[in-house]
Symmetry: C2
Subunit: 297 residues, 2 copies
DNA sequence: CAAATAGTGTCTTTGAGACATTATGCG
DNA sequence: CGCATAATGTCTCAAAGACACTATTTG
């Protein structure tokens, strides 16, 4: 069985023991994780419900390049781990959370995306309940903060060209934490002619976001917005007990669109199961607390 | 502006010109492309329509490891190109096609997935009209062939465990080309307990498919099946002119499920535009030929 | 004419959108 | 009591499922 021999007369075992990796250039492999959570703002009207905010964790860079800018938590992959394990390891260091929703997003490989050297980034999307997370106060120079996320879509331009057209859409990202506001803008171009379709993404503006991380965050948001409608992914952002209005507000903040209450409950309450707990001291009718229902399919 | 200095008193420019990559281990970065096409079988009953088959391109390995097994077309990424450009370059060498639908799938990074060394694989999904493709007849030792794709889902087992459960599903893949039949089986395990959810994929059986490529092909199929329902991705498999029944058969072969004609046309004919061409000599009523309609949104 | 596909009409079912109505705790 | 939210009822509308019926070509 094992006796198949190659062109040099070697068996697989012989080949492998003699194998020496060729001396060509290899990229460094980083992981960068976009971790989102949802927090509540303070509300002074005791009757009203507090609003929610979508937050993303950023780390202040303490060295060149992009010194002083903010970057996604991440690091390099070790030879004895998968990219997912690397993302999990880095995330645990940053947030103290071990069991967290994690999903691979995309591998960014622009040769010049890191000015130092050839670095690819395998990006991950992580979601967590803000209650469980304890971000370490910047131990050394390393400062980690949650930034409030706002996005804008700028009107698209369609340019008819000979035999096809070009469509450009710009997406703006604004991250804020107290007085600190950082932002970026990504232009998506679809070029279509007789030859086929070509998509390009370029960062057209960048204020304080390191590397191509504005683009990665926008990609993560796009994925989150897409999946929220047909999966139970949003439940990863909820605490153990929550009201259906809480859940609805999380959907609204992700989708950027108000949801109709009756329709929302019809569709998404199947992802939850009622408990016998109720909210209280709210200045209005108490609300039932629900819990995530794990789906078997 | 540029005068921010780091802990060593260096500006970014000074830092970068002095920067030497650290001498830690780096992975090799490969791309592997799952390219699908749809072909017609011969039909001897002149009245009946020919059936369609989903095909994937595989390359016979001429050296260790997996000598004699079949692998996805692919290769290593060069420092001056993106993974997408690398996939496109390799694909052009194999199929002669330049403008082809290409979409990044997933980066596989199991440290032991290649017995030679640390190799990650950034996988791509490609779709093409079989008419445009001209696979080079194996120039040297390199033999490329289209394999017919069949999949099976084996009944899942749910095991209740303390505080949670484990669900296992097995997916079988059978690729055939003439007398040559190669196959693989992947087990997906979802383990859920109080701590969270953990997904594992392992190859439980493998006959003649190199590396973890059976898993990659199954992943590509999953993506294709998912996207076919809400995008126009399937149109990339069609020739310039096709009937709506052709299109329906392509959907049926991808989804593995019969579609209802009236409903299918209501939903997917918006992706096409009618031409004034018709089929002929068919032994039954002629059919209108349609063309892809490029959507602006 | 028979075989087989092409193409459409329509009834049913499902689910989301829209809005209204009733219920309830707190200061 | 009135504010603000909780929870549900119901009408409408859009889309998909199911199936039937008519139209056309070729040997």
């Amino acid at each position: 069985m094992e006796e198949i021999r190659d062109i040099n007369g070697l068996t697989e075992k012989e080949f492998l023991s003699a194998y020496r990796p060729a001396d060509y250039e290899r990229p460094s492999m980083a992981v960068d994780t976009v971790i989102f959570t949802v927090t509540q703002t303070k509300e002074d009207n005791y009757r009203k419900l507090p609003e929610k905010e979508l937050k993303v964790l950023m780390i202040k860079r303490g060295g060149h390049p992009y010194l002083g800018s903010w970057a996604l938590p991440g690091g390099f992959v070790n030879p004895d781990e998968t990219t997912e394990q690397a993302a999990m390891r880095e995330l645990k260091e940053e947030t103290g959370v071990d069991n967290i929703y994690l999903e691979q997003l995309y591998t960014f490989s622009e040769p010049k995306r890191d000015p130092r050297m050839w670095v690819m980034s395998c990006s991950y999307l992580a979601l967590a309940d803000s209650g469980k997370i304890s971000v370490k106060a910047g131990d050394d120079a390393r400062q980690a903060e949650w930034f409030t996320v706002k996005t804008h879509t700028f009107d698209e331009k369609i340019i008819e060209k000979d035999g096809g057209f070009e469509k450009m859409t710009e997406y703006g990202l604004i991250l804020s934490h107290g007085d600190e506001v950082i932002s970026g803008r990504v232009r998506h171009t679809v070029l279509r002619n007789d030859m086929g379709v070509k998509n390009t993404y370029e960062i057209t503006e960048n204020n304080g976001i390191a590397f191509d991380h504005a683009r990665i965050i926008l990609y993560a948001l796009e994925r989150l917005r897409g999946k929220v409608k047909y999966t139970d992914i949003a439940l990863n952002l909820m605490p153990e007990y929550f009201t259906l209005t809480d859940l609805q507000m999380v959907y609204e903040i992700i989708l950027g669109k108000e949801q109709i209450k009756a329709a929302f409950r019809r569709k998404y309450s199947v992802l939850t199961e009622p408990t016998d707990k109720m909210t209280s001291d709210a200045g209005h009718r108490p609300s039932r607390l629900y819990r995530r229902k794990w789906l078997t399919d």
